[in-house]
């Protein structure tokens, strides 16, 4: 007797690939048949097949019924029901940042005037690159397919079975050569499709009905492709290409032709395609592949995800690129702004050379900070470390000057795989991290799973309330072997660097004692076996459960350090599920209550003479920096790529002022008061002088007004005076369009009020060759002085200085003095003296 139940899909993006694969793997554990019907569109699916589930196009709130029939139907039904009500709601794809980070499509003035053709698109992987267009056509069935002769059913089915196995082997071989989790993830998704029961049974059925192997593959391929393409969800539509690629691989396996060799790059190339299947992207020569231009690829397609992880600039949504562009044509792909540049003129090349220099200099400016300790204006040092989840990220962390690894999330090593990694495998990974860090500390957090993170190899039961359940350190005693394997790997790695170990989800002292006992036991075993380890390896704990915050004096007797995990701590402290849109707004780390709580934690740890850092999301947001310094943390740990800019901003802050700010924040009654405090005082905490020798360019080769303004804007960007040079450029031109700021006598004084600048600033450009500016006296200009004030600074001291400067410029003697300047430092001191400002 079959059992049935109904549910409504709780996922905003519909039942997409990831939850579908979890559901399918659960169903595959039972003998019963599990069928699902989407009551909205009447389509039915086999719950054991990922393809079939996603093909039934289940969208948010769709009513579905599930029918379970077989010997173990009772258990199967309750397992599925449990999964759907408790876990499905938490299974959403973390792709939102892709959608958020789309840059503006504004064409900068300096480029607009360069006489080029702009083809707009959507930037999905940032960067700027140029090269010759190489067209890659759509997937096509091998021509041999039409000439084939059909053999008997058994033989045809045998061909398919062999092809499936061969493609699987080939992907496994590719997998063995990859280390990036993104590449591995995509290849594993392809393996999952190959292993899907609906795919193979669909092909075999068609052969049994009298079709050839090739014909059957094509038909099944088309069937699933169309189902997926019909989906309302872009994410699901974009999976159609993966299936298509696998289908064609099977065909090629059967009929010979290999596709990998079809596209050979031999010079800097921009690969243009309607869409590019992921494996084909991986097969392209990385040395020559400079950028991708795709018409139809979606922003969540595997190809785009791969391009981002490989750092290849990519545009999608460019209109008919295969028709408009010609093979071999030289193009520039600007995936910082979201367009393609054709017929680049010398001014356009000059613009992009300038861009390359600017980006390099900005990086170098930040890199100056990256390599140094993060020290405030009043000489207070705070460590800025990096969070990593795999050894892939070590390069970015230390390349960006991280003072250590503040959090190595090891659970990523356990997710998405059938069996746990061995001790040796883990040892090699931890060891690589320790070696890369040299003398810098590496804090390795032991496995933190449960809650929203599931590990197949542990076979954890579903729970009513996973975040309050069996997770983190709480499941360690039941998985002692797993914990000891990991601790042994970490202890062994401690012989090769400054390794520290940290336990997740600590809420009582018993958990700490148990954890430490395991470490002692492991270390004793290593001692007996005469294997090297660091006996003084520091042991710490995450502070993410509020109870731990009230026994810090006791925990400090057992532990060496603490790290605050703000995401969980905030959610447990305020009793808010961040994933629930109805209450998510409450979970704000700037709640005054939470700030007071943090203060309590830091004070308690310091009273006990121990070290405390912060590794949650709160640590990585620039706006929080003054608060975090005021709070008194010893360390913050952030994404590796953010280390330089955070160090730069710290160098502009003063601990004394941050402490005052934090004390004031503790007295605020709500988040909006804290925010108001941050936006007013936050800026005062990082004052900058109006003048800076790096904003004085005395040997400019700019040849047009557009180039001069761009050059200044770029200098502002390099010095961190603007984070949006294109917007600043627009603001300057908006004023220029009222009437030219060329005031005659070879001078121009462009000016603007805009919050596109981070601080009021004066920039100076002296030109080697005078430039036409549309001046009052119709003569070209030799010197350009840019005045940029913040909107919110209007009426303030900076405007006073600007007005004094404007008056002085009417004085011939003052102008001649400026033109005589030979070095930026001299010019800055001359300005400072004349305008009565400090520099």
């Amino acid at each position: 007797m079959a059992l049935e139940f109904k549910f409504a899909c709780p996922l905003p993006h519909g039942l997409h690939a990831r939850p579908a694969s979890q559901m399918a793997s659960l169903a595959n554990g039972f003998l019963s048949e599990c069928a699902l019907t989407n009551l909205r569109n009447g389509s039915t699916a086999n719950v054991k097949s990922v393809l079939s589930i996603i093909a039934s196009d289940i969208r948010l709130n769709d009513e579905c019924s599930v029918r379970v029939n077989g010997v173990d139907e009772t258990v199967a039904r309750s397992a599925l029901q449990r999964f759907i009500s408790h876990e499905l709601p938490h299974c959403d794809a973390p792709l939102a940042d892709l959608l958020r980070s789309q840059p503006s499509r504004n064409v900068p003035r300096a480029l607009r005037s360069a006489g080029v053709e702009i083809c707009p698109g959507i930037a999905v992987s940032r960067g700027i690159a140029e090269g010759d267009v190489v067209m890659v056509g759509n997937l096509a069935a091998p021509p041999e397919l039409n000439k084939e002769s059909r053999l008997d059913n058994g033989h045809e089915q045998e061909r398919v079975t062999r092809a499936l196995a061969a493609v699987q082997t080939r992907i496994h071989n590719m997998l063995a050569r990859r280390t990036s989790p993104t590449e591995i993830g995509v290849l594993e998704a392809h393996l999952a499709i190959l292993g899907d029961v609906s795919l193979s049974s669909g092909i075999m059925e068609r052969i049994a009905q009298g079709r050839s192997a090739g014909q059957s593959i094509l038909e099944v391929n088309q069937f699933f492709g169309e189902l997926l393409r019909k989906s309302e969800s872009a994410y699901i539509r974009e999976r159609a290409l993966d299936i298509q690629e696998i289908g064609f691989e099977l065909l090629e396996e059967i009929y010979g032709a290999r596709r990998d060799s079809s596209v050979q790059l031999d010079r800097p190339s921009v690969v243009v395609a309607d869409n590019l299947p992921p494996q084909q992207l991986l097969a392209l020569d990385r040395k020559w592949l400079k950028a991708l231009v795709l018409e139809a690829a979606g922003i969540t397609s595997h190809t785009v995800i791969l391009a981002r992880s490989l750092g290849i600039p990519a545009l999608v949504g460019v209109k008919e690129p295969l028709r408009i562009l010609s093979p071999g044509e030289h193009v520039i792909v600007d995936a910082n702004r979201g367009f393609l540049v054709r017929r680049a003129t010398p001014p356009a090349h000059k613009f992009y050379q300038g861009q390359a220099n600017t980006l390099r200099h900005r990086k170098a400016t930040l890199a100056r900070h990256a390599g140094r300790p993060a020290v405030t204006r009043d000489n207070h040092r705070i460590e800025v470390a990096a969070n990593i989840a795999s050894t892939d990220e070590l390069g970015a962390a230390f390349g960006n000057g991280a003072d250590g690894i503040g959090l190595f999330r090891t659970e990523m090593l356990f997710l998405d795989r059938e069996t746990a990694p061995s001790e040796q495998e883990q040892f090699e990974i931890y060891c690589e991290s320790a070696r890369a860090a040299g003398k810098k500390p590496v804090i390795i957090r032991t496995l933190d799973i449960g809650g929203d993170k599931r590990v197949a190899s542990l076979n954890l039961p579903a729970e009513d309330n996973p975040f309050l359940g069996y997770r983190g350190v709480r499941l360690y005693p039941d998985h002692q072997q797993l914990v000891q394997d990991q601790l042994r790997a970490i202890a062994r790695a401690s012989a090769f660097g400054s390794v520290q170990v940290m336990a997740p989800m600590i809420s009582t002292i018993e958990e700490v004692r148990w954890f430490k006992e395991q470490i002692t036991q492991v270390q004793n075993e290593l001692l007996t076996a005469q294997i090297a380890f660091d006996p003084a390896m520091p042991v710490g704990a995450m502070i993410e459960v509020p109870s731990a915050a009230f026994i810090l004096d006791q925990l400090s007797n057992e532990l060496d350090f603490f790290s605050i995990g703000t995401n969980d701590l905030n959610q447990y402290f305020l009793a808010v599920d961040r994933g629930n849109p109805k209450v998510a707004a409450l979970s704000n780390v700037r709640q005054p209550s939470f700030l007071r709580f943090l203060k309590h934690i830091v004070d308690e740890v310091h009273r006990a003479g121990k070290w405390v850092g912060m590794c949650g999301e709160m640590a990585g947001e620039l706006q929080h920096l003054p608060l975090l310094l005021g709070l008194g943390l010893d360390e913050i740990s952030v994404a590796g790529s953010d280390v330089p800019v955070i160090k730069e901003r710290i160098s502009r802050l003063s601990l004394g002022e941050c402490q005052k700010l934090f004390a004031a924040a503790l007295e605020c009654v709500d988040v909006s008061q804290v925010d108001a405090l941050l936006s007013s005082n936050g800026r005062n905490a990082s004052p900058r002088t109006l003048l800076d020798r790096d904003l004085v360019l005395l040997e400019s080769d700019s040849a047009t007004k557009e180039e001069v303004i761009r050059e200044m804007v770029d200098a502002f960007y390099v010095e961190g005076r603007t984070d949006d040079p294109d917007r600043l450029e627009e603001a300057i031109w908006a004023r220029e369009e009222v009437y030219s700021t060329g005031l005659g006598h070879g001078f121009a004084i462009p000016h603007t009020k805009t919050d596109a600048v981070n601080a009021g600033s004066i920039g100076v450009v002296k030109l080697r060759k005078p430039v036409e500016w549309g001046s009052l006296d119709d003569k070209p200009v030799e010197m350009v002085i840019l005045l940029a004030a913040r909107d919110s600074d209007a009426g303030g001291a900076q405007m006073q200085v600007f007005s004094r400067l404007a008056r002085k410029l009417m004085d011939e003697e003052f102008r001649s003095e400026l033109l005589r300047a030979r070095d930026p430092g001299g010019l800055v001191s001359f300005f400072a003296e004349e305008l009565e400002v400090t520099v």
Binding site: R735, L743, H751, L776, L787, F802, S803, R807, M810
Partner: protein
């Protein structure tokens, strides 16, 4: 001659003050006495009092926007020019005072 003047431009960051400086300098060179009120981003500075205005024979408005407190100058001889004119050719403006 005693002269009062007002300078004002749309953004009020630079040209307002350049024009004021230019008018002051030119007046001095030509032996006139002048007081220039600036209406810029800093608000009204060097404001003209009723006394200043009553004493003056003529007012110069070097402006690209409308003058605030225009009624103060009612019944008075006013020469209004685009602000750029004051920067480009201030002596030319003073020439017109004679006519």
């Amino acid at each position: 001659m005693k002269i009062v003047a007002v300078t004002a431009c749309p953004t009020g960051i630079a040209h307002t003050y350049m024009a004021a400086a230019r008018l002051e300098k030119t007046a001095k060179d030509l032996g006139h006495e002048i007081k220039v009120e600036t209406q810029g981003a800093l608000g009204i500075e060097n404001a003209l009092s009723d006394h200043d205005i009553r004493q003056a024979q003529v007012a110069i408005f070097a402006v690209d926007i409308s003058v605030e407190g225009r009624e103060r100058f009612k019944g008075m001889k006013v020469i209004e020019v685009p602000l750029q004119e004051a920067i480009k050719n201030a002596p030319g403006i003073f020439q017109r005072l004679k006519s």
